[in-house]
């Protein structure tokens, strides 16, 4: 996981600087925003010439899953005060996955903190390396770095496409995005795709448990 996080951080740092985000701003994203998908999304909208509101909205919508993670890990960690704030900041895909993967309560807590702190340190160190490298590269197109951004998003979504419903939403997202790119400002097609997913999620045929609740 350490190697994956490091290399992923280098990609983010380089692509962020190439997108026109300065090295200090790139570091602020990794230190303060600290959620890979949201960070990539924010610089993606900036690179495409989207508005600040579109960039913030896209990043924030991608961060909603961290709220669900927080609700899962909070009862396992049982922390208060500043430790709770630290735990919140470290609540991401990796720390949550490792925490819930443990059987013993002590291992759960250790797994969360070690993974969260470890990823935080590596992510920031390698973001800095990538940002400095990206700064030195010159024309990003000659290095194919614009294509690397699309590949990064594809790699992030790939493991989430196993379910049938996810595949349907993915197809809808492609259609909506392609249809809207020529007619609305940059950043808006991505938000429209998210809106379609919300509609599908809310109105889709409920599973058995849902029906029981409704009845």
């Amino acid at each position: 996981m350490a190697v994956a996080t490091g290399l992923y951080g280098i990609s983010f740092g380089a692509l962020s600087v190439v997108a026109g985000v300065s090295v200090p701003q790139t570091m602020a994203l990794s230190l303060l925003l600290f959620s890979g998908g949201s960070q990539f999304a924010l610089i993606g909208v900036v690179a495409a010439g989207g508005s600040p509101v579109a960039a913030i909205a896209t990043s924030t919508l991608l961060g909603v899953r961290n709220t669900l993670y927080g609700a899962v890990v909070a009862p396992l960690l049982e922390v208060r005060g500043w430790r709770r704030l630290a735990a919140a900041q470290l609540t991401i895909d990796e720390s949550t996955a490792v925490a819930v993967g443990q059987r013993e309560r002590a291992a759960t807590r250790a797994g969360f903190w070690v993974t969260g702190v470890g990823v935080f340190v590596l992510w920031n160190a390698f973001t800095l390396l990538g940002a400095l490298a990206g700064d030195a590269l010159g024309d990003p197109r000659a290095w194919g770095l614009d294509a690397a951004a699309g590949a990064a998003f594809l790699a992030l979504v790939w493991p989430r496409l196993a379910a049938r419903r996810a595949q349907v939403v993915a197809a809808l997202a492609v259609a909506v995005t392609a249809a809207l790119i020529p007619v609305v400002p940059a950043g808006v097609p991505v938000l429209a795709a998210a809106a379609v997913a919300i509609v599908v999620g809310v109105v889709a045929t409920p599973a058995t448990d849902d029906r029981k609740e409704a009845a």
């Binding site: 925003l33 927080g70 609700a71 735990a87 194919g144 690397a148 590949a151 594809l154 979504v157």
Partner: protein, 106 residues
């Protein structure tokens, strides 16, 4: 975006990100345990990422174009199907686009 606007964007997005994380730690777990909430969150993540793939690969401003990014994405998809690690997927895509451009296309 100007430097100031970009800083505001970065800091606002960071504040909202932290707010979402903290909210998860503060509100009762059962509020979010409904299947509909979980399902919608998962689908929104998928839609956003897929949409970003399309924008990053086919958009040039407001135009839809086919250039070196498209074969690069195809190479990335093949690499993912073969279970290549993240960095290899990204490097192969970049190398494909860079190679095609060096040959004078896209």
């Amino acid at each position: 975006m100007t430097t100031t606007v970009l800083w505001v964007t970065v800091l606002a997005a960071s504040l909202l990100s932290f707010g979402l994380k903290l909210a998860g730690h503060l509100i009762p777990e059962h509020w979010l345990a409904t299947e509909r909430v979980q399902r919608t969150s998962t689908l929104v993540t998928v839609a956003l990422l897929v949409s970003l793939v399309v924008v990053q690969t086919f958009a040039d401003g407001q135009a839809l174009v086919v250039d070196a990014r498209v074969p690069a994405l195809a190479v990335a998809a093949i690499a993912l199907a073969l279970r290549a690690p993240f960095i290899l997927v990204v490097v192969l895509a970049a190398a494909t686009a860079a190679g095609l451009r060096a040959l004078g296309w896209g």
